[in-house]
Amino acid sequence: MAKVLIVDHEKCTGCRICELVCSVNKEGAANPAHARIHTVKWEMEGSYVPMFCRQCVDPTCAAVCPMNAISRDDYLDLTKVDDALCIGCRACISACAFGGVGFNQETQKTMRCDTCGGQPTCVDFCETGALIFIDVEAVNLRRQRIAAEKIRAATR
């Protein structure tokens, strides 16, 4: 079954190891600026929200791409870019509501999460379990269990 990357926000400690290991895996260099995941922080309040490509089912990035370089693989639940077709117009970057697409000045190509081919490095290193890679159709089960715990406790 296809899997999707989600966040348990309460568990994020803001350490940014996700950015670090993503960049090393993808670029061979430590450089959070080129990571496919970025933890947006309100540092002085202790709030942290990791952001990345959401692999939209109906991606606006694909809709605006004049070269049809962006396509959707429903089986893998991935939004893919054909770099050979990409003209670097950055329309996709403007269109994405989540800021899930970045641009690499060196390669002149866009950058986005490809879930490391189904084994995301960020998830592997996220010790607290804030980042979760989970079956698409089971995505709500964890949340259900957490909520259900409260109902269970109240009704026992």
């Binding site: 309460e10 400690t13 803001g14 350490c15 940014r16 190891i17 670090l20 290991v21 960049s23 090393v24 895996n25 670029e27 061979g28 260099a29 430590a30 450089n31 959070p32 600026a33 080129h34 947006v40 922080k41 540092e43 002085m44 309040e45 202790g46 942290y48 490095t121 592997d124 290193f125 010790e127 607290t128």
Partner: protein, 631 residues
Amino acid sequence: MSLKRKAAIIDLTTRAFEIKEIPLELRKKYLGGRGIDAYFLYKLIKPGIDPLGPDNVLLVSAGLLTGTTAPASSRTNIGAKSPLTGLLGSANMGGFFSAELRYAGFDHLIIQGKAEKLSYLWITNDSIEIRDAAHLKGADANETQTLIREELDDEEIKSMTIGIAGENLVSFACVRTGPKNSGGRTGMGAVMGSKNLKAIAVRGTKPIAIADPKGALRYHKELIEYIHTSKYTEIMGKWGTNFIYDVTNSTGLIRTKNFQQNQFPNSEELECEELEKYSLGVAGCFGCTMHCRHKIRLKEGPMKGQYDEGPEYTTLGAFGTEVANNKLHKALEGNYLVNKHGLDILEVGSMIAWAIELNEKGLLPKALLGDLDLSWGNMDAVLKLTEDIAYRRGELADILADGPKQAAARLGEGTLKYNIQVKGMSALQSDERATPSLALGLATSTRGADHLRSRPAIDLYHLPEQALKAIYGKEGLSSDYRDYAGKPWMVTWQERIYAIVDALGICKFQTVFLSPNMPKAEEYSKLIKLITGLEFSPQELMEIGERIYVMERLFNNREGATRKDDYLPDRYYDEPNPAGLKAVRGKYIERDKYEEMLDEYYDLHGWDSQGNPTSDTLERLGIQTEAGSLL
């Protein structure tokens, strides 16, 4: 790549700067961070200069592995001649600052001179700008970071700042980054203040190429898994260093009422579990999976609603046991104030506890006190005095703001003996009367009384001799923390491993400090190879650690330090522990045995009887003491 990071030499007086390569030879001898700082301090600072004058040199350094795939590699080292001790100034902080500094292309900032007016440095991708900071004058250490982000319109900027204490040249003002991280010790904030330097703001997007990316990732993961096999990691992740309180207080190893007691009864509120009432969760420094910082919100009193991070073991001492306060919320208020104003929490707590004892003994002139009821547990007075020190408001605060030695000079000769300090710097709230190894480390540390230079903390764990041999590589080390046998060896070993991690930019919480099951030279040898391509054997790394320590020792000796500066306050020898478990009750440091330990400690280093490295030792370590510089 990691070795391509540069050093920037910035003269604030002339506003000129130059950017230089870091010679490979320097890397091979000192790695980076605190190691290269030790070298620069010795080479660049002329003996006898005024620490608060323009001749002092401020060093801000990333570790060799900071910002890369080494566990917990977030650390920044800050160096200068210390205004607190007149000797080596050296502080180390976590957070996100120096990873960003490296992404901006720099490993070392060498800051000289003095800006004409309050300024800040803006460093981004190989560029350096000195900017006006008039609008930041008087802003606290946290506000300053926010104001810079707003001014430059970039939320990703990381800044190292000073608060009001640094601006006012409080001799134990610290440097700050994020809501909590602090380069706390030896008054580096005052050095920044003396240079009219309010902040250093950095932002970088340059890659640090990894020599073997796949191998480095694999080994990084392997080490994280190893680190998480330790029970200690789980406890640190839950309670932070606050967990130490429960252990040392129940045993009788905690400095209470300045130094009158070694246990604080009826202090259940200070036990780590109480933090749950205020905690909003935990936070981690760059790339750290241990996440030992608590996020808290104050719930009552004049600071109600304020956000703060990281009440630590030191908080529970400085604003707890030392001043005899058993209310956690009051200690948290103290924590908030020192973070805001940029004060070294250890020093401020120690100075106030000392003042309370002096007052109790009738050694503080009434005129200095005014209306202030400076007595044990009176937190209104303690917190007021804390802020007064930051602002240097009133004569008493102004005196205390100068640190133990200068304050004692103004308060009278008989007062210094009550201050728990070595080389002019106050100690952590631990009480080492029952633990000779910890006492030796405290007294010989290169930056004054300190627990992060050489403390063999695992000596407290009663590890079997075989386990000690496996870690320390030597037979006959006593597993009884009250013994003197073999302890100098343990101290010298720890000096080296701490110097290595400080040079690599790795956090001490993830080496052999509070747990024996943590990475050490063997692991660092592999990490350095995978990340930088440089090859060092574990033995070579330990020798680098020794070289760093000797450079620091040379700096101190050149400023006049000798054997006489490697002793504890007299109270350690003269006042036996009044409380605690039977194992520690009545214990004190025996003078003759201490002398023997010190002799052995010097021998192990190849130093003479006054603590001067011999010429053979300098030759063995390849240290040249003459002028000249590799940069």
